[in-house]
């Protein structure tokens, strides 16, 4: 009976693999890539399902590239990329340009006084601040009637899902359009990175500060993640938050953002991917026409400090008014590591669904957590980063119990081979998950763009499955033994501390 079941499964697998290879091969044929003379890469994937297309602009610069004392700048520039150009968003660009230059002079003067270590004159500081605000008001007169014109054009022309993100590793921009707007899109997207204008910068900076308050300052898990990540990395820029430290957000200037753009938004750092009802033969010349205009510039110095090996466990414990949480991370190599797929396999085994080991042990059997998982990519994966585990204790259980249970599962990984069924399941799921991701213009555009940027070859998206296929049981034990060791660990905990005040409630979970 058991033998029959195994046999059946094998048959199913052969079938699935065959179908999979055919489908992937047919997909690869739909894809055309071209590196333009300026170094920018264009990828087109023909998916004639409906007369629409999605695009993804990948810029190979993230908050790791933020200059010293200017954390948050990569993300700030991403916000500025929605502020229009010299032709979009202004009444008179020549006049506005002069007015914006005056804002920068006034801001520099204000900042110099504000940051004087000694002999700061409060009266003078007030005057300088007022002068800066007056200069902003002057510059705004040029742009105010055209607020958000860039976004208004995209939306009124039928743009869908206009958005962007910045993380430690990169910045991405995306939306979808009806297919008859392909050339309009090529114009808008190239102009956006040809002639960005740092208008309304200091108001947008306030918007970003509100974003920081929402994501980090006013959210206990946000607070923990920030403290945890900065404790995990001593030397590499991964220790800095993408959103930026509050001091830096209140300090950097529009000039800084322009400099960041000039340095990192260079053609060879960009991959533009279009997926949808387009023909490469027709779309490529249009895209090339507009994006060839982006200048090639010299590649910036990309040196970062490599994180030295961690020599002892680090712990961050936050005493909060909120419920407890347990998090731990182990340093692992970057995505180029030959073992990258082994980590993916471990993630799947430990975390994917109700068959995952962490779910079965912590949620189903011990019934001490409501959710638990382990995953790579904290806070990014372009550089050596963390493989992290977390668990949310259910009422009556403590973070320490989470640690013990997670460590129990890690020990199992180190000591016992995973089963044949588990290994097969991991490999089948990797294929199915890739297949499912092919059914969406947006998803394909961002995946193709990301893999092109990371490997200089979009085909790696499809090869990622082959890499997982080669993972062995011994690989998983080897990596677990190598990486999941106490000295390589940083722990982050939220402990419930009760509300402040004269009569604090008795602490739950206490002795």
């Amino acid at each position: 009976m058991k033998f029959r079941r195994v046999l059946l499964i094998t048959v199913v697998f052969c079938f699935a693999s065959l179908a999979f290879s055919q489908d992937v091969a047919s997909f690869e044929k739909r894809i055309t890539a071209k590196k333009l003379a300026n170094g920018l890469t264009v990828i087109i994937c023909e998916r004639p399902e409906a007369p629409v297309f999605s695009f993804f602009t990948h810029v190979d610069a993230g908050s790791v590239q933020d200059p010293m004392a200017k954390t948050g700048l990569a993300h700030m520039f991403e916000h500025m990329a929605f502020k229009g150009t010299d032709k979009i968003g202004t009444r008179d660009y020549a006049g506005e340009k002069a007015a914006l230059a005056k804002v920068e002079v006034a801001y520099a003067a204000y900042l110099a006084e504000r940051d004087k270590p000694v002999n700061r004159e409060e009266q003078k500081l007030k005057q300088l601040e007022q002068a800066w605000r007056d200069a902003i008001a002057e510059a705004d007169k040029f742009s105010a009637p055209y607020n958000n014109e860039f976004g208004k054009i995209v939306e009124s022309e039928g743009g869908e899902g206009m958005n962007a993100f910045t993380n430690h590793d990169e910045t991405g921009y995306s939306y979808s359009f009806p297919v008859n707007r392909l050339e309009l899109w090529a114009y808008l997207e190239s102009e956006r990175f040809l002639h960005p204008v740092m208008r309304q910068f200091y108001k947008e900076r306030n918007v970003v500060i509100e974003e920081r308050r929402m994501r980090t300052d006013s959210n206990p898990i946000g607070r923990l993640l920030e403290q945890f990540t900065s404790a995990s990395f001593a030397a590499h820029p991964y220790h800095r938050p993408t959103i930026g430290w509050m001091w830096d957000l209140n300090s950097f200037s529009a000039t800084d953002a322009q400099n960041f753009f000039d340095r990192y938004y260079i053609a060879q750092n960009m991959v533009v991917t279009v997926v949808g009802d387009v023909k490469a033969s027709e779309a490529m010349p249009i895209i090339e026409k507009y994006f060839s205009r982006l200048p090639a510039r010299s590649t910036p110095d990309e040196a970062t400090t490599a994180e030295p090996p961690q020599k002892s466990e680090r712990r961050v414990v936050l005493h909060e008014q909120s419920q407890p949480l347990y998090l731990e991370g182990y340093h692992r190599p970057d995505y180029h590591s030959p073992d990258d797929a082994v980590y993916d396999a471990i993630t799947d085994l430990m975390s994917n669904g109700r068959t995952s080991r962490l779910y079965r042990t912590l949620v189903r059997d011990k019934q001490i957590a409501s959710d638990s998982a382990g995953f790579s990519g904290l806070p990014g994966n372009k550089y050596p980063h963390l493989f992290a585990f977390y668990a949310f204790p259910i009422p009556g259980h403590k973070p320490e119990e989470m640690a013990d249970a997670i460590h129990g599962e890690i020990e199992r990984l180190k000591k016992e081979d995973i089963s044949d069924e588990e290994l097969k399941m991991i490999k089948t799921r990797a294929k199915a998950s890739l297949l499912r991701s092919l059914g969406s213009n947006e998803g394909l555009a961002s995946n193709l763009g990301l893999f092109q940027a990371r490997y200089e070859d979009w085909r790696e998206l499809f090869r990622s499955v082959d890499r997982i296929d080669k993972v062995t049981k011994a690989d998983i034990r080897r990596i677990a033994n190598q990486i999941f060791v106490p000295d390589n660990r940083t722990v982050g905990i939220i402990e419930f501390a009760g509300p402040p005040g004269p009569a604090p409630a008795p602490q739950g979970g206490a002795q």
Binding site: I9, A16, N147, G158, P178, L184, R297, S298, P395, G509
Partner: protein
């Protein structure tokens, strides 16, 4: 030197391009050809004699097949004393397994095939969906059918589901955005309204296995089910499969929609004090309407212009011009078969809480002083109509849309009608719906924040009602032996 050479090279390239291609100098010069005609494939609708309605949508792009069954009856029919039953039912329907296999066995069986069969409990319906590789359809459909007709609701999984819910209850005062959304719904609909009420330890603890069995027995009948399938299959074969599986299933009692009372809170100021934040979450709320309302089309245009996206007034004034918020938006909510929530929502630093409320006040009063202009209306209508195609740009979306119309009793061509009706909306229509719904003096205002840091006392805007968000204590013995989570929650 090298840079100069590269620049020169680029210049030459552009020069040669320019001869071949005329480049647009302004976005307005870019040619926009007409959009090719597009008539997406429509799903085949089949009504079985026992009342089950089936939609079949072929999509041969990838070797995948997904099915979605939606069953009438949901959380709004659950008595208040057992609030949470629907969440537990939605989880344990699947995790509790069938008479033939435990949930754990199903997990192994399905995951080996990278397939999913999942169940859920919603406010007006329950769902059971599958997703599989084409080659696994026989295996997975069997599980789907077995779960649909023979669920077992094993007790050990009920316990896990309850513990998960206790955890959610214990954490519900941790995130200020979550508190604000929850309390705003209570203010807009009434605290006891099924669309606003939240489960408590006691109501979750009151749910028994028999409740789940009874629910299934009372609601899961073919005449309450709409089943949609999309993917790489032949419709005739799929129809035969479904008829074979469900054709002989006898019909039974039809689900009835409960009477629901919507009792918005009195206008005024409401505060949830939270001392570990530096930002206030602000809501102004009221009652919206339904999509069956003839005003729906004018409301769609109004919402786009007032609080929709980058182009909207709220975004332009409060975020771009005033720099007061990252997150701001709002509009008149429209539900399928019950009123949506009217809301203006933003978050701003504690020190500009008063200023932000004033800014929202102005936005509402401006609707009569500076009514939405022709230009704003044109932009809003263009945005809706030009992006219209994204409502049906995949076979799966077309299927979901039709299933929703079937479920809520709308004409199946509602979408086509929608397009024509949006085109007809005038400035007067938009002004009329704005005047009908946007009354500041009737709106409760909620702030979740840290009053010690506010720019002006909330009470300077009128009397303040402090909301008590203390989590009621669990009945003894249900959340472990290490102290009660009730004591851990934030207390005013």
């Amino acid at each position: 030197m090298k840079r100069a050479l590269i620049a020169l090279f680029a210049l030459i390239l552009i020069g040669s391009n320019a001869q071949l291609w005329a480049q647009a100098a302004s976005w307005k010069d870019v040619l926009i050809p007409p959009l090719p005609a597009f008539h997406p494939a429509q799903p085949k609708r089949i009504a079985l004699p026992n009342g089950m309605v089936i939609f079949l949508q072929e999509d041969h792009e990838l070797p995948l097949i997904d099915g979605f069954a939606r069953i009438r009856g949901g959380g709004r029919s659950v008595p208040a004393s057992k609030n949470g039953l629907m969440d537990i039912y939605g989880e344990v329907w699947r995790t509790g397994g069938t008479k033939n296999q435990t949930g754990d066995q199903l997990d192994d069986y399905l995951e080996q095939r990278a397939a999913h069969v999942e169940t859920g409990g919603g406010i007006d319906s329950t769902t059971i969906n599958w997703s599989c590789l084409k080659g696994d359809l026989d295996d997975v459909f069997k599980v789907f059918q077995d779960l649909l007709q023979n669920p077992e609701f094993r007790a050990d999984k009920i316990q896990i589901a309850q513990k998960g819910m206790y955890d959610g209850i214990s954490r519900r005062n941790d995130d200020p955005g979550g508190i604000a959304a929850r309390e705003a719904a209570k203010l807009a609909y009434g605290a006891k309204n099924p669309y606003a009420r939240v489960p408590e330890y006691a109501t979750v603890a009151a749910v028994t296995r028999q409740d789940l069995v009874d629910w299934h027995h009372n609601y899961v009948h073919p005449n309450n089910i709409i089943l949609g399938v999309v993917g790489d299959f032949d419709s005739a074969a799929m129809e035969a499969r479904i008829r074979q599986a469900f054709g002989a299933w006898p019909k039974s009692q039809a689900a009835k929609d409960p009477e629901i009372k919507f009792t918005p809170a009195k206008p005024g100021n409401y505060l949830v004090e939270k001392t570990d934040v530096n930002q206030s979450n602000i809501y102004m709320v009221g009652l919206g309407t339904t999509r069956k309302d003839p005003d729906y089309f004018a409301i769609s245009v109004f919402n786009e212009a007032f609080g929709g996206g980058f182009s909207s007034r709220l975004f332009g004034d409060i975020r771009t011009t005033k720099g007061l918020a990252y997150s701001v938006g709002g509009g008149i909510g429209t539900g399928w078969d019950r009123p949506g929530m009217l809301r203006l929502v933003m978050s701003t630093k504690s020190e500009t809480t008063g200023e932000a409320i004033q800014a929202l006040d102005e936005e509402i009063s401006d609707l009569s002083k500076k009514p939405i202009t022709d230009e704003e209306i044109k932009r809003a209508k263009d945005a809706i109509l030009n992006s219209f195609i994204f409502r049906f740009d995949s076979p799966g979306k077309v299927l979901q849309e039709k299933m929703a119309y079937e479920f809520y009793g709308y004409q199946l061509d509602f979408l086509e009608k929608y397009q024509k009706e949006i085109e007809k909306v005038t400035k007067e229509d938009v002004a009329r719906v704005a005047a009908k719904y946007m009354h500041r003096d009737q709106m409760p205002v909620l702030v979740v924040g840290n009053p010690g840091e506010f720019d002006k006392a909330f009470s300077s805007l009128g009397p303040v009602n402090k909301l008590d968000t203390t989590i009621p204590a669990p009945p003894p013995g249900i959340v472990g032996d290490q102290g009660s989570p009730q004591q851990r929650c934030f207390q005013d």
